[in-house]
């Protein structure tokens, strides 16, 4: 059976994480995606860990590999007029263009949607940026934590008695592409039925605020300002991350297990499982409100039990009793996780420089038209010939001329 997006042609002018993850998903499900990069101003993700063998190298980043698997790679100097002409030809070839330049940059090059769609009314173009294409913040320079700071996440991670810690990494980079993808696919469905393209403007800050919809709505409703609360939950008690025993296989690494009592009944099961039937039968702990008053005592009891066994042992004993628990999975655990392995979530791919590389599989398993990465992310300029000759029909002389004038750098 053919792939869900078989025949779809995508030009990917984006970089780092939020943009490239979009094209990655499209490639997984059959689209032909051409990723344009600069060979001289090397894109940030190529310089970001983790790296093959722990060695920093622009061809070694698995972050880049995970965001770009399955794409064809071409290097272009977009500042040169002939480089821009190649982009125009790629637009003519493409159904979809994805880009993440600073708002306004493409207009300067005459590559904005209004210009490109003039003779391509069926073109779908998606721009992703920190704050969107217009509005007072649209000129904001993007760096690490801007999206999570301005969307409210930075303030909502941390211990009650400490400074805000913020989420792990540039959090809105993980949110934006998900909202972008569903909108882009809806635009494809719309085009299939009407023939019309459209322009999609995705702002990471807005995507982040959207994932805090309940909290921001509560402020509008009654003025409540949500606050960080460590690992505590608004309803469930106990609800925490507890230390577990050191493991020979993970030398020098602190180990933890997350444990949650979702209901009063599960609290009782939890207390019994950790050998504290006395707590299980205590009437003052029968409700979450009562347990909240005794949270320190309860957390100490759980910690004492978890510290005496491995995170795996704790997880299995609690799950066997029907209590929600899981070890805090490290990168080494991730490879060994039985559930992820059963899904085939990690995919090994041949790589021209590293022999093999590993990327994540798709986040959606489709039973009839399953997707997945078909090849490793391109090395710099790996597919220049294929793209220019086979996709655009350039002859050898034209390719050589582009090469000689430095447009393919």
């Amino acid at each position: 059976m053919s792939a869900a997006l078989a025949g779809l042609k995508v030009l990917d002018l984006s970089w780092v994480v939020a943009g490239p993850l979009i094209g990655r998903a499209l490639a997984d499900f059959g689209a032909e995606v051409v990723r344009v990069e600069s060979g001289t101003r090397v894109e940030t993700a190529r310089l970001m860990q983790p790296f093959h063998g722990g060695v920093q190298d622009k061809e070694g980043s698995v972050l880049f590999g995970n965001c770009n698997a399955g794409k064809l790679g071409v290097t272009l100097d977009l500042k040169s007029s002939s480089g821009q002409q190649v982009v125009r030809d790629l637009v003519a070839w493409a159904d979809v263009v994805v880009e993440s330049f600073s708002p306004g940059q493409l207009r300067k090059w005459g590559l904005d949607y209004a210009t490109l769609s003039a003779d391509r009314p069926d073109l779908i173009m998606l721009s992703t940026s920190i704050a969107g294409q217009d509005g007072p913040w649209s000129t904001l320079a993007g760096f690490g934590n801007v999206g999570s700071s301005l969307s409210g996440f930075q303030n909502l991670v941390g211990w009650e008695d400490a400074l805000p810690m913020g989420p792990f990494g540039p959090y809105t980079d993980y949110v934006g592409p998900r909202l972008a993808l569903v909108t882009l696919l809806a635009a494809l469905e719309n085009r299939r039925r009407t023939g019309a393209g459209c322009y999609i403007d995705v702002a990471q800050v807005e995507a982040g605020v959207f994932f805090l919809s309940p909290q921001v709505a509560q402020h509008s409703y009654d003025g409540t300002v949500a606050e960080r609360r460590g690992n505590h939950d608004a309803v469930m008690v106990p609800h925490g991350v507890y230390p577990s025993a050191a493991e020979e296989a993970r030398p020098g690494r602190d180990r933890f297990v997350a444990v949650v009592a979702r209901t009063d009944d599960e609290w009782s099961l939890l207390a019994t499982t950790i050998g504290r039937a006395d707590l299980s039968s205590r009437p003052d702990l029968a409700t979450a409100a009562g347990r909240r008053d005794a949270e320190v005592e309860i957390d100490d009891a759980i910690s004492a039990w978890t510290s005496a066994r491995t995170a795996d042992e704790a997880e299995q004993a609690l799950q066997a009793a029907g209590v929600a628990a899981h070890k805090a999975v490290s990168t080494a655990d991730y490879v060994e996780d039985a559930q992820l392995a059963a899904r085939g979530h990690l995919v090994e791919l041949p790589h021209p420089l590293h022999g093999t590389t590993t990327v994540e599989g798709p986040r959606y398993r489709l039973s009839a038209t399953p997707g997945g990465p078909r090849r490793a992310a391109p090395t710099l300029g790996q597919d220049n010939e294929v793209v220019l000759r086979d996709l655009l029909g350039y002859d050898d002389a034209r390719i050589a001329a582009l090469h000689d004038e430095g447009a393919l750098r």
Binding site: D134, G158, Y199, E206, H232, F256, H326, R363
Partner: protein, 418 residues
Amino acid sequence: MLEHLRVLDLTDERGLLCGRLLADLGADVVQVEPFAGSSARSAPPVAGGPAVSSLFWETFAAGKRGIAVDLDDEADVAVVRRLAARADVVVTSWPRDLVEAVGLDPVSLRAERPELVYVAVSAFGWEGPKARYADSDLVVWAAGGPLEPHRDGDRAPLRISAPQAYLHAAADAATGAMLAVLARSATGAGQVVDVSAQASLGVATLGRVLAHAVGDDHPEWHQAPVKRTDQSGSGAATPNSLKKWYCRDGMIELHLSMGPAAGTFTNNLFGWLRDEGAVEEPVASWDWRTVPDRIVAGELEESELDVARAAVRAFLLTKTKAEVLDAAIERRLLCMSIFDMSDLAASPHLEARGFWAEVDVAGVTTRIPGRIAHVTGADGPRVRRRAPRLGEHQEEVLRDWLGHAPAAAAVDLEGAAQ
């Protein structure tokens, strides 16, 4: 864009967001709830008195119509099956045991309607060794990767204080649904889409879940901060306390970056201090691009950096979050206001972009995020109605989807509405 699609929504709080996204994009989404009401109606945050349902429900069930059914009553369940027979997409996050017990599972529904796209959102996936694990946001966050590396000093790893794991999965479910809908236009056949929240979180670790697999077992987050190696000041090796600063009405994230690449941004910052007379020579005229070299050469002492930090600290205490943000845009600074919910509500940017939608929540006009994306050239995503009351649309849904309300079922469902 999706006005032609019917979505039957059998989710609880785990998958609630999926239908919201499809509804924003135009689909006709019908939320099915048990008589007692969806558990998502009590998902935090819950505001106000006992009659008020949760803001989680009011935001992520917005755009949907709703019916309530007795899942213990075969006639009611039969109505749900008939609705499924008219749906393009069924999405569920109810436990697998429940949907199988009442015959609303993918095998049963797709046997009756092969064109159906059936989307299942779960903690670990539809099948596999952990498919029946007890789950929660924190437990999935632990299993999916983002928890373990995220520590403030020696303390235990931290989650985000607003539950997030299932939002990622439910958004992925909407994408999975659309992939299957697009595939159906070519093949004519539906299929099953299986979304695991655990697997959805891998991309929320900036590639860290892949480190071991490629032999990078010593990534930055496990190294102790080493003096002067992290010149950008923006890396994970910089202690949290050096990146956070108080201002007049809150906190600022600011990196005193130095070195040839990022020192310019700190020069810009000190330009602002100079303009307002907030820093004295010689610190005022430092070129932060050369500061690391000057320290190495012995021209600058670490203690002099403290003078610079003190000047910044005193200056920021006179500025508001809004003023710092404006300066960051105008002067190109690597610093950012740490916004809370009240700052978002007051944001001129979100206002100018028409980000908010207004919905009625228990009689209070409430602003909720209303733009997952801005679309020109097509009818883009927006909030089309407030979240449904329990059983609010029994009659009209049966009429619209089934053509007429079958007498017995209508009576049964009528009871549900009361």
